[in-house]
Amino acid sequence: MQEMLRRYGYGLTFIMSLLVAFWLLAMVVVPNIILLEFSFRPYLPMVDVGGPKDVYSFNNYLTFFTSPIHIEVFFKTVIYSSLVTGICLIITYPLAYILSKVVKPTDAATIFLMLLVPLWVSEILRSFAWFIILGNTGPLNALLLYVGLIEKPVRWIVNYQGVIFGLVYAYILFMLFPIYNAISALDTNQIEASKDLGAGTIRTHWRVVIPHSKPGIASGCVMVFMLSAGSVIVPSTLASTNSRWFTEVIQQWMFEGLDWQVGSAYAFLLLVLCIMFVSIVMRVLNVRLVDIAK
């Protein structure tokens, strides 16, 4: 702070501090505290708010813990988000390696330019694209029928299948970019040295490349899991009759039930889930927060 005052004077330092304070207090910290506070309050008609009935309780959370359906939806969201994260990791790790160590840097730059298009197109359109492709009379079935791999149209959007297709497509680049950055920072000589010393391909990756790319892997996993578990539009566009996502339950409380108190409790549970995931990833991969958010 002394440093800032000396360089930029009282006026500018005051303005900058004000901007940062407004951001962190009015947009980040206090809204989340209010979310937590709200989640302990009862849903009351207007006249009773602030009256004797307006007392804190765990009732909103009990609503969740006594509803087997909501608990099931919550755990399915966790399981399928983890699955999506795993699929993205398996697909992109080799790609990140190829792009940073095999392909010429100028070619890699061109490829990343092409990937900017799917990255910048809204996720709503990305999931809509798969809604068309996976349709019963859609191009995928038409192609497979034409090639002769299948004899009658396959229903792709059953159970959570459509949602998984959509989530992987929507968020896979959030896994590719951080891992690519991490592997790019690895000196190619280290890979050469490992091979010269007799390590095979798998051993080289396991002992040299993967340990070096841990911050990228951590960052990618956290982003993909958070985006998947918190996705609203993909699960509703590519839903089948029996695939429900936790964010849809939150939406129901907020918009259909108009019960913002229970909605806050459910939103807070989603937040806790994401915080837990971040801390597990940090613990397992032994990385710091600075490595994850870059």
């Binding site: 930029y8 951001w23 947009m27 209010i34 790609l95 095999v102 799917p118 497509y169 918190g230 870059k294």
Partner: protein, 273 residues
């Protein structure tokens, strides 16, 4: 030797398949906007048409939503760029302990699901009697987009020589001049990139906007409601236009980047043939 050759070939093939996987769905979706079929698809192809663009042009709700999206995005850029820049400068001048403490709070919104940000923003402003609407969408979006700007500017500050500021101060420059003439020009590329990313993040935002918007539409909310209630290929026509805009902006971005790289290369190796 042949094994190695095969390996290289396999890697290239894998890369090509991935590119097709990323780009083909967008082509299918855009192509359906040109197909004369009542249900959006490219197969069977029933002939080329521009009627979905005509329908789109006549859709007043779409125009309203597009205008809203533009205003929200400009407001988000105008608020999040100063906040993110100030945050990066502040972070850079702090000691390690308070630095990592503040850093944690600043990056937290990036790691928070949009639904949570949306609901907490809604509740916070409701406490002060501010009801839902696009102004709250702006607040909610800024809370995490400012963090992206902060990260970009912070990265750029790594290559800044604070000695330049010292020199300017010693030579009698005012604090305002140090900021305006020395620090901000150095940060300019990061600020420009931050503004571009803030704009795109705002335009494509759905989750935060959904919970804070009240009754107003943005483009993504409009598309979302169209997908839920009766789909027509007008959405595909809109998608095709958005993809075209994205390609143009990506090309502009690349031209600027190459020009910048060429200038840097020319600086490092002056023509002394």
């Amino acid at each position: 030797m042949t094994a190695e050759k095969f390996g290289r070939w396999a890697m290239r093939a894998y890369l090509a398949i991935f590119l097709i996987y990323m780009l083909l769905p967008l082509a299918v979706m855009g192509g359906a906007g040109l197909n004369d079929s009542r249900f959006p698809s490219v197969y069977p192809w029933k002939g080329f048409t521009d009627r979905w663009f005509v329908d789109l042009w006549a859709d007043e709700r779409m125009w309203g939503a597009m205008l809203n999206t533009g205003w929200v995005a400009l407001a988000v850029v105008a608020i999040s760029v100063p906040i993110g820049t100030a945050a990066a400068i502040m972070l850079n001048s702090l000691q390690s302990k308070s630095r990592s403490f503040l850093y944690g709070f600043m990056v937290a919104p990036i790691l928070t699901p949009g639904a949570v940000i949306g609901i907490s923003t809604l509740l916070f402003w409701n406490n002060f009697g501010v009801s839902a609407g696009l102004h709250l969408s702006i607040m909610g979006q800024v809370s995490f987009i400012a963090a992206y700007v902060m990260l970009l500017v912070l990265a750029r500050l790594q290559s800044f020589d604070p000695g330049l500021e010292e020199a300017a101060l010693d030579l009698g420059a005012s604090h305002g001049q140090v900021m305006r003439r020395i620090l901000v020009p150095h940060l300019y590329p990061a600020i420009a990139a931050g503004a571009l990313i803030a704009f795109f993040q705002s335009v494509e935002n759905f989750n935060v906007t959904l919970f804070t918007r009240g009754n107003s539409d943005t483009l993504t909310v409009y598309v979302g409601s169209k997908i839920r209630s009766g789909i027509t290929p007008t959405i595909n026509a809109l998608a095709l236009l958005l993809i075209a805009v994205t390609i143009i902006l990506a090309a502009v971005y690349e031209v600027l980047r190459r020009r910048d790289a060429a200038r840097k290369a020319a600086l490092i190796a002056p023509e002394d043939a």
